[in-house]
Amino acid sequence: MVVTGTVHLVGDHIDTDAIIPARFLVTTDPQELGKHCMEGLTPGWVQRVQRGDILVAGENFGCGSSREHAPLAILGAGIPVVLAKSFARIFYRNGFNMGLPLLELGEAVDTIADGHRLTVDVTQGVVENHSTGAQIHVQPVPAFMLEMLQAGGLVGYVRQRLGGGA
């Protein structure tokens, strides 16, 4: 899975209330949730996002509640991948479960600025920064998690496995 897009940079400890405030949890439709993505951080944030853009964050992205609506809102906003220094544990799981790939870049995040153009190869674990010419290598996403992403998330993945006689 390879995507190219423009970076939207956010800081450390972005919690699930910042990603999708509780007042919008009345639906589980990604498109609806996507309209309010990051509204707890900056009202109207999503308006600057083009389909295919890439979210880059600092430490502990997605901390707070276990709401599965947070990765859905990001997907709904048209963002296909999130890169961060580190992710909060339950968010990390929920991301892949909902079909949103996440890559942990560690300190290398500090070399990326808002507006940079990146190509992210999730399968190989390679991030190419076209604005600086740098290449970042990280641990690639394991095969079964890629399968899960290809199935559109955990619900689709389990459907497939059960359908395949597993």
């Binding site: 502990n60 901390c63 276990s66 599965e68 580190s86 909060a88 544990r89 339950i90 990390y92 799981r93 929920n94 479960n97 909902m98 641990q139 394991p142 079964f144 998690m145 955990l154 619900v155 993945y157 389990v158 459907r159 496995r161 059960l162 359908g163 597993a166």
Partner: protein, 421 residues
């Protein structure tokens, strides 16, 4: 290279070698758990997955404990959903009514968890079973649904913080005080993404129930799991609760830890966590004299028989202060029955306590002891977030059963030594 407890247990449940933190492994699970709040969501996901049977009807556990006995129509409907699902799937371990206890107090007593197990639960305090030497952790409802369907899940191998407890333990100091001390020192995100591993002479001498009290609150430091080696005491406990064939498990002497912490129990006084975060921990002397309106003794943290004994020890021959409500909720039917047989319930009633059924009840502000604005409670539960037990303008202090019981008698927060005969 040596392995931590987390690495060792996960390796037993996967087909690959576990070489260290950060690695992602797919593990077979021993047990999947959900409750009356989280099971309905998991059931919804299971339906979306097209699941018609769970991986093993013996190893899916459903406990309707949060609002039991059902407090209103909504909670009754939720339980009905879970009950019908359990019947449909032939789930053996479905609990409600007189069989129910607070899930994390109930499962060990039923012998459903043992050393070396991997347990996932749609409840953040699933980490309690680390007290038995099991790798146990809370997940979202969809994750638990998938585990119920497939019998496996994935984990990122956590780094481990090792906590050694040494010294001479003073009277009225124990498991709750040690875990509050750890959370006070490292903070509510101090062990984020990591496992806590507890060891040292004080831990070796600690009862298995005490170990479960400590493991229970690992999540309050952000940890994924709170782990104890399984030793002869653990095996005696699991055998007494109907299990056979369990074996000990311990970390390797040369295991790699991300960080080490040590606690000297000598001279330590009981700990109290002040509003509104479990990390606001003070020695009881520093908060002594603060008046309370309500005292709650129970929950998956401190509602076991040992906790009830500790409370009864302080309450024997005493009366609850005028104007204070003391609510005691044994966490399981077995603890309730044992408390009756040992005369503890009589002690509680003589002291003027309300003794309720096993339920989560006030712990999460559900029912049976909700706080009004301006009211203050000292509780043996695990979270004191703003509004957790009722009004946003109420306060919860967290402490051990001895401190809570003593405070009920004094009407103010107090060191138990000043109350007990």
């Amino acid at each position: 290279m040596g392995q931590t407890l987390a690495e060792k247990i996960l390796e037993r449940h996967t087909d690959t070698a576990v070489d260290g933190p950060g690695q992602i492994v797919r593990c077979r699970i021993s047990l999947a758990l959900a409750n009356d709040i989280t099971a309905p969501l998991a059931i919804k996901s299971l339906r979306a997955m097209g699941v018609t049977r769970v991986f093993d009807p013996q190893r899916v556990v459903l406990v309707c404990d949060h609002f039991t006995p059902n407090k209103d129509i909504d909670s009754a409907e939720q339980v009905k959903t879970v009950r019908e699902f359990a019947r449909q799937m032939g789930i053996v371990h479905y609990y409600e009514g007189g069989d129910v206890g607070v899930e994390h107090a109930l499962l060990p007593e039923l012998g459903l968890v043992g050393p070396g197990d991997v347990v996932v639960g749609a409840d953040s305090h699933t980490c309690t079973y680390g007290g038995l030497g099991a790798f146990a952790t809370g997940l979202g409802s969809t994750d638990v649904a998938a585990a119920m369907a497939l019998g496996e899940t994935w984990f990122k191998v956590p780094a481990t913080i090792r906590v050694d407890i040494t010294g001479m333990v003073p009277p009225y100091v124990g498991a709750k005080d040690f875990i509050l001390e750890v959370i006070g020192r490292i903070g509510v995100a101090g062990a984020l993404y990591q496992a806590l591993e507890f060891a040292g002479p004080v831990v070796e001498a600690m009862s298995v129930e005490g170990r479960m009290t400590m493991a229970n609150m690992a999540i309050e430091a952000g940890a994924k799991a709170g782990l104890f080696a399984a030793d002869s005491a653990t095996l005696a406990y699991t055998e007494a609760h109907g299990r056979q064939g369990d074996s000990p498990i311990a970390p390797d002497a040369d295991a790699q830890y991300a960080r080490r912490l040590s606690i000297d129990a000598t001279g330590m006084s009981p700990r109290v966590a002040c509003p509104h975060l479990p990390e606001n921990v003070r020695p009881v002397e520093e908060v002594a004299g603060i008046p309370v309106d309500q005292v709650v003794i129970g929950s998956c943290t401190n509602g076991r028989i040992e906790d009830l004994r500790a409370a009864a020890h302080v309450l024997r021959g005493q009366r609850v202060a005028k104007g204070v409500r003391l609510i005691i909720l044994p966490a399981s039917p077995k603890a309730y029955r044992q408390a009756l047989d040992e005369g503890l319930l009589a002690t509680f009633l003589d002291a003027g306590a309300v003794v309720g059924p096993p339920t989560c009840g006030p712990c999460l502000g559900g029912h049976m002891g909700i706080l009004a604005a301006g009211e203050r409670c000292i509780a043996t539960t695990n979270r004191n977030f703003r509004g957790r037990m009722g009004s946003l303008d109420s306060e919860v202090y967290l402490a051990s059963p001895a401190v809570a019981a003593a405070s009920a008698v004094a009407g103010t927060i107090i060191h138990p030594a000043q109350v007990a005969a």
